[in-house]
Amino acid sequence: METDLRRAVRELTERLHQLAALELNALWLLCDKLPLGAEPGRRDIFSVLLRRSSDLVEFDLPPAGGRIAHAYFLSSMTDTQVLNQGIVGGISPHHPAGAVAELHAPPTYGDAIRDVLSGCVLLLVEGIPGGLAVAARGYPKRGLQPPVLETVVRGPHEAFNEDLQTNISLLRRRLRDPRLVFEPLTLGRFSRTEVRLGYVEGLADPRIVSEARRRLAAMATTAAVDSNYIEESITDDPYTIFPQIDFTERPDVVVVGLTEGRFTILVDGANDALIAPVTFWSFMQAADDYYQNYYAGTFLRLLRYAFLTIALTMPALYIALTTFHQQMIPTSLLLSLMRNNVGVPFPALVEALIMEITLEILREAGLHLPQKLGTSLSVVGALVIGEAVVSSGLVSWPVVAVVAITAIANFAIPRWTMALAIRFLRFGEMLAAAMFGLPGILVVTTAIVVHLVDLRSFGVPYLFPVAPLDPARLQDTFARMPHWTPQRRPRLLAPAWRGRSGRRARKPEPTGAPGSNPRSTWRARA
């Protein structure tokens, strides 16, 4: 038979539950800032606030030291193995002997609840003010897999995954230096996403890092689901189509960036890391360049610049040359173009637009189809549509060839975000070419150049080594300098550090007595 007191308390809790069911949001806003003391009713508040979470586990610990301790944690967020071994095995609020993960005392109800929600175990001991949150995160996470976008022939195949701690460990393993700093941040009112601003003290320019810190703090977003949310909120010029912050799935690329004085932003739940400040030229560099012979690296990089211009201007040039400056095309080529163009009703611009748009549809469809259907789509797209369009006389062969080459050239651009920008600027060039021919193309291209020259990425001019010309640093933009050359700090990024690594390599000295004429000993030995 219940005593009157216990029945009164139960009724009060019931009414509290009914009240809470209706006004969880209001109650939450009320309790968020409420300091966590030793008041007896605190257990009911927690149970009311967390009642809706089905995966909540609430139990009483065996009394240790004469007091009853209550524990709250979410089964989906914690690792049962850590729980059994660390906490249940015999922990007490005063001397957390067996604790395996970090401990902290959440000051308010809000913080306590947030800790529970992010995978900690909350311990409330009767009569002792405050609570104890023991981190025991253990939610399921994806294993390390090779990168999807940036595959390399030679070089590490490890890519970031969605867990922040794994990503940080991937970086720590490659940069074992206390000056590698990860400043913690939480963003997003609801998502409370864990964000880390990583940089190497002494390499990164303090002004740039403080600017990044300021922009991150000033960011207001409801839920920072992916790094892109953050990227768009902290760029210098929000209206440009060009990417000003690079993202990568490869920890080695991030490490190289950090040693060049850039900073990185890791977001919990995003499988890539942001790197800034970056310039236009860093979007044309691929990880491959640095893992292959530097001659190959340089040649491929120069080829990429050629493909960049092809991707941007080739359809426009075709339109301009065939409809405005026919005298430019060599006679034999013009004759074959004319022969192929007989009977095609559309002007050059419309032909090109038809093919470009068909290509964009194919590409978009290819992306969103499940893997199995993807391959069959490309067969359908390339053969049937290409063949049908030409044989029905809608489009002439040269246009199909030009558009195909342009599409492939666009894929040659290593960074996805830059490839996107170029893909859409191409249409602007085609329009200008259709209206004013070659002068039109050059006006649009110059306008793009003016825009690029005006852009900055965290204060660093976008075309840095070329626009404000700095011949010393020009070398690593267009050519991949060998690793043994004395690395010169990108002046704008980190003025402090003089040289980074490597000294001029020399051929190995032939063996034999030091100082003696190498030629003679060489022969003697053979």
Binding site: T323, F324, L334, M338, R339, G343, S396
Partner: protein, 400 residues
């Protein structure tokens, strides 16, 4: 939450784009489909002072060529070119009349050969040059040819070798048998003191004996007439004043320094040999003789290889004989040069550009005489020295 500033900015941008569309339009656009490519053009004089233009327009659908499995229907069939002609009081009118007969826009950008009839050449080629130099569409490095008789009919016969027909003329000129005349060089010569230049000549020769050369649809029992190049025309201030035969032409090329290669038939005492001259270096210079009289010194160095032994036992293994052959070669080159000089003097036309040479090298001497150059030219002293070597005999020394 788009800020008010951004909304106003996009609105202004949108209006601007709309406005620029109103401004835009494709004024200068000429689609490939309605482009009438003139590959060769011929100008003839019409009795009342007018012009007749005959142009060969490329017909793209009949072009044979790689690819094009698509809508073009495999090509072949009709001739690759249509030849149209029109007359008019001036070149502009004639071209306008030509344009009426054609579906699309006449395009002069790829014209490679310009033929001038003898009648028009005698009257003056200046109007033709004026049109081609003034228009931005045309190329300045277009070849000019003069035709004995009417130029129009020459375009009619399109030998079925290469497509389009004028390629035969163009390729022949490229091998530089004759002194090639670009329109801007001819125009230049009109303004210089000597004022004369040479233009390659071509005319319709007799039909080739035997079957028709090459297959192709032009068919018909008789063989199509062939093109014959022999000698050049001489233009004085843009007017045709005379012709040079083969030897005079070759001599003129030696003296002008434009010879690249030549094949010379030599009659040596032991037999006749053809020598192919392939290395040529010609140095022209005006010098000042005692008493302030200008003179022209031309040094010709030629080197060649025995191309063929026609008749007789020719001891090519004998070094002395080769030296003797070289002297004969030098004499023959000298003979051609003298023939050209004689022709220049007899016709009193300085097509060897000596006037320009004296003006360039001896300005002091040139100023007093430049107005009366026509009178002084016949008495001008010209010193020609020829150094010829037959260096190689080829891979075979003697057969018989």
């Amino acid at each position: 939450m788009i800020s008010a500033r951004m909304r106003r900015r996009t609105a202004a941008l949108a209006v601007l784009v709309l406005l620029s569309l109103a401004l835009s339009g494709c004024w200068d656009r000429v689609e490939l489909a309605d482009l009438d490519l003139v590959s060769g053009v011929a100008f003839d004089a019409v009795p009342n002072g007018g012009f007749r233009i005959t142009a060969s327009i490329v017909l793209p659908q009949n072009l044979t060529g790689a690819g094009g499995a698509g809508g073009a229907g495999g090509g072949g069939g009709g001739p690759a070119e249509a030849v149209v002609s029109a007359t008019g009081a001036t070149i502009g009118e004639a071209i306008a009349a030509l344009g009426q007969g054609l579906p699309g826009h006449i395009f002069w950008g790829h014209t490679r050969v310009i033929l001038i009839g003898e009648g028009l050449a005698r009257r003056g080629v200046q109007p033709v040059l004026d049109f081609f130099l003034r228009s931005p569409e045309t190329r300045l490095a277009t070849d000019l040819l003069v035709v004995r008789g009417e130029a129009g009919p020459l375009l009619q016969l399109s030998p079925p070798f290469r497509v389009p027909g004028t390629d035969v003329l163009y390729e022949h000129l490229r091998r530089q048998r004759e002194p090639r005349a670009f329109i801007y060089e001819v125009a230049q010569s009109i303004r210089t003191a000597s004022g004369a230049t040479l233009i390659p000549e071509v005319h319709v020769g007799p039909p080739a004996p035997g079957g028709s050369p090459g297959g192709g649809g032009s068919g018909g029992a008789t063989a199509p007439p062939t093109l014959v190049f022999c000698g050049t025309g001489v233009l004085q201030r843009g007017r045709l004043t005379g012709w040079l035969n083969e030897t005079q032409m070759r001599g003129a090329m030696w003296l002008l320094g434009t010879t690249r290669r030549a094949t010379v038939e030599l009659n040596s005492p032991r037999g006749t040999v053809t020598v192919a001259v392939d290395k040529v270096h010609i140095h022209r210079r005006a010098v000042r003789l005692a008493g302030g009289v200008p003179a022209v010194r031309i040094r010709i160095a030629a080197e060649g290889m025995v191309g063929e032994v026609d008749r007789g036992k020719v001891p090519l293994q004998d070094p002395q004989y080769l030296i003797q052959l070289s002297n004969i070669l030098a004499a023959s080159i000298r003979g051609e040069a003298d023939a050209a000089l004689a022709a220049a003097r007899s016709e009193d036309v300085d097509f060897l550009q000596f006037g320009r040479l004296v003006a360039a090298d001896q300005p002091a001497l040139w100023n007093p005489v430049h107005s009366t150059w026509r009178q002084i030219f016949p008495t001008l002293r010209v010193v020609i020295t020829v150094l010829a070597h037959v260096r190689y005999v080829g891979n075979l020394v003697r057969l018989s």
